[in-house]
């Protein structure tokens, strides 16, 4: 455990060094958030009765999405990991007295967290200062805060576990390009990154809610904004636990299988 913790620390501190990139990313995130809210406001003015959630819950969703983009972006991959598999450099990693799965899991977690830590605070503060329905609205009860945090953690672990499955799949296919493309575009849409899931048409929405991707940003952000509560909230949390477990197990089985038949050609 201790070695993974120090590995986490190394990666985390490494990630914190890119301050200029973080600043630049933040500016982009601000603009994105504002544009997104202006866009949804236009729709809201057109037909408020067709709006599937409270406007302020939507604004909250959008600002959380911008602030925590680094935690939940499914299109973010570490090229080094793909590269080390295709070139065989992964052999060096296998010499170490750690498990590959655990080490890469820690690494992905650290990278995402270090990116998010630098960016989230200014964005959240700015969004909180914005006037009423357009800004970030804080939930009133400690209960909601607790479940948001719990759900955010589950969602983050799920995104990392999902990424691990994709990394592991490269052991079997060698070329990562095709899988990456399809996974990226599918998961983007199905996780609610393009439009929040409540805005999908009826039949499709129910179906998408059952898919694993709904367990990422969709759940915590909607709990925080007060859109997801009561029975639905507990069901979604259970769904998160379920999909997290499935992907953790799947990734580790794939790791075992891959390492068993792995041949390193020397060189």
């Amino acid at each position: 455990m201790k070695k993974y913790l120090s590995f986490f620390r190394i990666r985390f501190i490494h990630g914190l060094q890119y301050r200029a990139a973080a600043l630049s990313g933040m500016v982009t995130q601000f603009v994105w958030g504002i544009m997104e809210i202006l866009l949804f406001r236009a729709f809201y003015e057109a037909a408020p009765e067709s709006f599937p959630m409270e406007f302020q819950a939507l604004s909250t969703y959008i600002w959380l999405q911008q602030a925590f983009l680094a935690l939940y972006m499914t299109w973010f991959w570490e090229p080094e990991l793909f590269h080390s598999i295709t070139t065989g450099n992964v052999a060096y990693e296998l010499c170490r007295p750690v498990r590959l799965y655990h080490m890469w899991f820690t690494r992905s977690l650290a990278v995402r967290l270090s990116k998010a830590v630098l960016r989230c605070m200014p964005i959240l503060l700015f969004a909180w200062l914005l006037p009423a329905p357009h800004g970030l609205t804080l939930p009133g009860t400690i209960h909601t805060w607790f479940f948001t945090l719990l759900s955010m953690t589950l969602g983050l672990l799920f995104v990392v576990a999902f990424g691990m499955v994709v990394y592991m799949s490269v052991f079997y296919t060698i070329s990562s390009q095709g899988i990456k493309l399809i996974v990226t575009s599918l998961s983007e849409f199905l996780s609610g990154a393009v439009i929040p899931l409540p805005f999908l048409p009826d039949g499709i929405r129910e179906f998408v809610n059952f898919l694993p991707f709904a367990s990422a940003q969709n759940v915590p952000f909607r709990i925080f904004g007060g859109d997801l509560k009561g029975y639905n909230m507990y069901a979604s949390l259970l769904g998160q636990v379920f999909w997290l477990a499935v992907f953790l197990v799947m990734g580790q089985i794939m790791e075992r299988g891959a390492l068993k038949r792995l041949v390193i050609q020397g060189g």
């Binding site: 982009t28 202006l38 057109a46 390009q177 990226t184």
Partner: protein, 261 residues
Amino acid sequence: MNSIRLYEKYLLIHLKSMMQHKASFLLTTIGQFLISFNIFLGVRFMMDRFKEVKGFSYGEVLLCFSITLMAYTIAETIFRSLDTFETIIGNGEFDRILLRPRGSLFLVLCSKIELTRIGRLLQAAVMLAYGLNFSSITWNPVRIVTVVLMITGGVAVFAAIYLIFASICFFTLEGLEFMNVFTDGAREYGKYPIGIYGKTLLTICTYLVPFALFQYYPFLYLTGKTPDPRYSLLPLAACLFLVPAGLLWNFGLSHYQSTGS
């Protein structure tokens, strides 16, 4: 004339090198298609639910989206080298370009022609055809010319932004990520007519970065929201954005000191 022939030669070289890796080319093309298909799905589902936005119907929004996407994609195909200019400066390739007996900007453009964007271009073309058919616009020659002008103006505006981005690289020697706001952002949010985002943004996009000049105003005329045909000429005004961008490029070029690599 000579330059055009040279450009054709470069184009052929890029095409040939691309075809060396057919599978990779195909996958990237599909990827490009899928990514903008996501945006399309977003528009589709939103319009399904709300029927119209600020008086624009689904067909009209689709037409607007396809025109913006078309302009963006053409611009990205031709001017991709400017978008990644920091690598050209960083690896010393620009120093080599300066030694050649041709315009440096022309040679930079020739150094990279992004043919993988064909996936996105295809999608824009299909959507344009669909939008043209189903937007209940009565077509006449002026309106058809308007569409062509809108695309041309769009390419010019995006080209100018790429040019500004590249010129900044002369001083910073690396790219500024937030410039993406103007390119990716315009593609992302230009899917709807800019007017729906409100007055403030419309003003910014009219006077500061002229997105609205090629997208929103001529589109108003196209959809019959204004009878004034002068609106359809505004994309030409948007092309003027190239002038300050070109000046900035020349200014940057004259102050360029090699990176020494």
